[in-house]
């Protein structure tokens, strides 16, 4: 793609996970031109990340095949850095900028892992739970490595299983939520038998390891080339030796682009109607940004959004929305049960001490932040959130630790050569 080039499309879709793929395919099936962008080199998002299609479940492989056989223009390795006022996305690919002008935009930016700062979370070898999974799916070899997994949420189980299958020794899986709530959640899975069978399969894959509820990491220290992980159940503290640790606390909807576009955000999620329309005309949102509910829900929402956005004459309240509506209702129930079961316990607020780095980009320690400051003051006085991650990692972490609401996202959404911004029309408001 040439520098400064401009693409024009009926429907632009940002994010090529299940929601974005389903949306792009649905829009194309309606006869609309569709451009699908993602920062990754391959479609699939995090859940369908793969090295070869053979690794994927059949349903995922089918969606990727539908995408390949569709008229969708797929642009890999493209990072969306901002929006022009005139219905255009500004994106960067291999150091070159380009714009995508759209008539309808579908935001399917997925979710990121929630990281909570604790002493030692910046050590090499300490990754997120999803981070460890992503590395594994990208070709990292873990044979014989001793791994501690900790944090919260249903992701712990499949990652433990995948690590065990790949030859790692999973020492312990620590879930901070109390056992009663976790098993209550598991019992609730009877309503979605597919998920229950999946959970049983994951558990049997790492039977040698302990799965401890009501247990969390208090600190990690480096010891030679390895790690010493200190765990607690609230009564005593003990240590585990590990080569690698995966620590993550569930998922946070990625609402940065939607926020920048002016879409209404409510409780950290993009607000949409039954047709996945946001509060901004011609902008739709599908999948995890509307609430963490998993791939099935994302596919259903993506299908609704793509169908509506792909209709040339404008979205009508029609049959396709009603059909996907049933799937939406059951997955929304799942999302609610998920957040009840894996709510973070109060002790999580106190994991970081004054010397703990809270902003990894700028190395800002918690002790430098005055609890009386707003998030904006924190940013201005300490540079927390001003680094390349643009607050994606420290934003949710600081919000949780200080109890202060996050700032609105800043332009560019991702670091970009100054020329990229200078070349485009003025960015819309949103920066401060």
């Amino acid at each position: 793609m040439a520098d400064g080039s401009l693409l024009t499309t009926d429907v632009a879709i940002v994010g090529a996970g299940p929601a974005g793929i389903a949306a792009a395919v649905a829009a194309a099936n309606r006869g609309a031109s569709a451009v699908l962008l993602d920062s990754a080199p391959r479609p699939g998002g995090q859940i369908w990340r793969h090295r070869s299609a053979a690794e994927l479940p059949a349903s995922a492989a089918r969606w990727l095949q539908r995408l390949r056989h569709s008229t969708v223009t797929w642009i890999p390795s493209a990072t969306v850095v901002g929006m022009h006022r005139a219905r255009a996305l500004l994106a960067e690919r291999e150091g070159r900028e380009f714009s995508v002008r759209w008539r309808r935009l579908i935001i399917a930016t997925g979710a990121t892992e929630r990281f909570l700062p604790f002493p030692g979370w910046t050590l090499p070898g300490v990754l997120g739970v999803g981070g460890l999974q992503a590395m594994l799916k990208s070709g990292a070899e873990v044979v014989g490595r001793r791994v501690v997994l900790a944090g919260s949420g249903p992701l712990l189980l499949p990652v433990a299983a995948a690590l065990a299958r790949a030859g790692a020794r999973v020492a312990v899986v620590a879930e901070q939520a109390p056992a009663a709530r976790v098993y209550g959640f598991a019992a609730g899975l009877v309503r979605t038998p597919g998920r229950l069978a999946q959970a049983a399969a994951y558990r049997s894959a790492f039977l040698g390891a302990r799965y401890r509820c009501g247990t969390w990491v208090v600190r990690i220290d480096a010891a030679g080339a390895g790690l010493v992980v200190s765990l607690t159940d609230g009564r005593r503290v003990w240590t585990e030796l590990a080569d690698l640790a995966g620590v993550g606390y569930g998922l946070v909807p990625s609402v940065g682009l939607a926020h920048l576009a002016g879409c209404e955000i409510s409780d950290g999620c993009v607000a949409t109607d039954r047709l996945q329309r946001t509060s901004v005309p011609d902008i739709y949102c599908a999948g995890e940004p509307t609430g963490i509910a998993g791939a099935d829900s994302a596919i259903a929402q993506g299908t609704v959004a793509g169908t509506a956005a792909g209709m040339a004459s404008g979205p009508a309240e029609g049959a396709p929305a009603r059909r996907a509506g049933t799937a939406l209702a059951s997955t929304r129930g799942f999302a609610a049960r998920l957040s009840r079961a894996f709510g973070l316990r109060p002790e999580m607020h106190a994991l970081a001490d004054a010397s703990t780095i809270v902003c990894r980009c700028e190395d800002v320690r918690l002790g430098r932040i005055d609890r009386g400051w707003t998030m904006r003051q924190t940013r201005l006085y300490t540079r927390a959130g001003m680094g390349p991650c643009q607050g994606r990692v420290c934003g949710p972490a600081l919000e949780f630790v200080t109890g202060k609401p996050a700032d609105s996202p800043r332009l560019p959404l991702f670091p970009t050569p100054v020329a990229t911004l200078a070349a485009g029309p003025p960015p819309s408001e949103g920066d401060t």
Partner: protein, 74 residues
Amino acid sequence: MDGTPHRVAADITLAAALFNLGVRAPRRSVLGESRGPLCGMGICFECRVRVDGVDHRRACLEPVRNGMVVETGG
């Protein structure tokens, strides 16, 4: 990588290749701490390295290529 040629699997990311070569910390932080990948998906920028002369490339988003010149900051 850093002047030494390495043979790695063809269909993996640069972040995975660095991991398999034993590079746990491809960069140093503002205060000089060793840092390695955290999110694995292009969000945290902890795995950033110089690739073919271009700074700040996220290793987790770069597929490995023949002849790729990688400079770590670790």
